[in-house]
Amino acid sequence: MAEIEPRWVLIVDLDRCTGCQACVVACQAENNVPTVGEHETIEGRWLHWIHIERYWEGEYPNIKARFMPVMCQQCTAAPCEPVCPVFATYHTPEGLNAQIYNRCIGTRFCGSACPYKTRTYNWLRPEFPEPLHEQLNPDVTVRSRGLIEKCTFCVQRIRRIEIEAHAQGREPVDGEIQPACVQTCPPDALVFGDLNDPSSRVSQLATSHRSFKLLGELGTDPGVIYLKGGETNV
């Protein structure tokens, strides 16, 4: 057991992000996120745990587009946590904002309270026409209708590596634990690690002058740290 609990953070380097959607599909594959189809998407009921927002700046021809991957920000002072009547969402010792699907009764209060709107809700029964159900990851609960789900920083992958490492009598090394999005990100825009470990890559990147937090003015203290694009690191 670690002496200090880790503080898991995700660094998103916006200068590297190319908006390629690899993380979106990787997340869906890893976390059994259902596809909802065209109609539900039009209704605003898509379920991606991570989505890439695209912002326009300027006007043609001097126009720029920027990408920003947005997922649950794993806030330290999370607005979603106190409002849940049944403790389905709460803060874990390692700084994760947990969502326990089997406890959720679907009041959607957390979704209303979340300023980032990154909590998604299973509006209808998820469908996996046979044999597509074979793709389901056995490490992650398959959610039914009527409950909230969201990015967990792939806690099943964190646990898997931790158990493996502890069985070998060691602590996981920096970079060994990778959520599915981080693992697949082609331009290495995503970095995951322990902020309580001063030598970890995330600790170093977090001190960059480019770093900022999404809606930082709200004081939610997110566990996702963005690095601004368009600037050099020096």
Binding site: T92, T141, R159
Partner: protein
């Protein structure tokens, strides 16, 4: 007269609920009907260790159930006249797996992992009971969340945070 009916109805409901609860428990503890009348008692008394047939709890989430090949490893020569053993042999020959019924069952949203439990020094018997004394294997404890928490919450201060955390078992 009316009052009698009311009281009677009330008693019936109460008895029904109690009976239901008891029968529910019975169902939980009842040994399921297995395709082959396998006896743990016979095997344990013959001196076979748990890990011989269930090899992987030290390195995997599951303990594993023995392959048909493993059964036939011994039963090629031992007790081949037994009709149950012949049934095993017929499964082996046809290449069909034996459809065992799971005895200790967790809900789908519970992620139990044998490996850390054995790593923490627990014995098989702690949870599975004295299987060596069972002719027909059955569940000895109701493996509900309260039962899990009995251990998980009584841990040292530095461990309890992690072990009593929901994410320890639910993902």
């Amino acid at each position: 007269m009316k009052r009698f009916w009311l009281i009677g109805l009330f008693i019936l409901v109460v008895v029904g609920v109690i009976a239901g609860v008891i029968l529910t428990r019975v169902q939980v503890y009842a040994a399921p009907e297995q395709p082959i009348a396998y006896s743990h008692q016979v095997h344990v008394e013959a001196g076979i260790q748990c890990l011989f047939c269930h090899p992987s709890p030290l390195k995997s989430p599951l303990a594993g159930i023995p392959s048909v090949q493993k059964c036939m490893g011994c039963h090629n020569v031992i007790d081949t006249d037994n009709p149950e053993i012949q049934q095993v042999a017929s499964y082996y020959e046809s290449g069909e797996p034996i459809p065992w019924i799971r005895v200790n069952l967790q809900p789908d949203f519970v992620y139990f992992n044998h490996q850390p439990h054995l790593g923490a020094g627990l014995n098989c018997e702690t949870c599975h009971g004295d299987v060596g004394q069972m002719d027909v294997t059955r569940q000895t404890v109701k493996m509900d969340m309260g039962w899990c928490l009995d251990c998980h919450i009584n841990q040292s201060d530095e461990k309890v945070g992690r072990l009593a955390d929901c994410l320890a078992c639910h993902k």
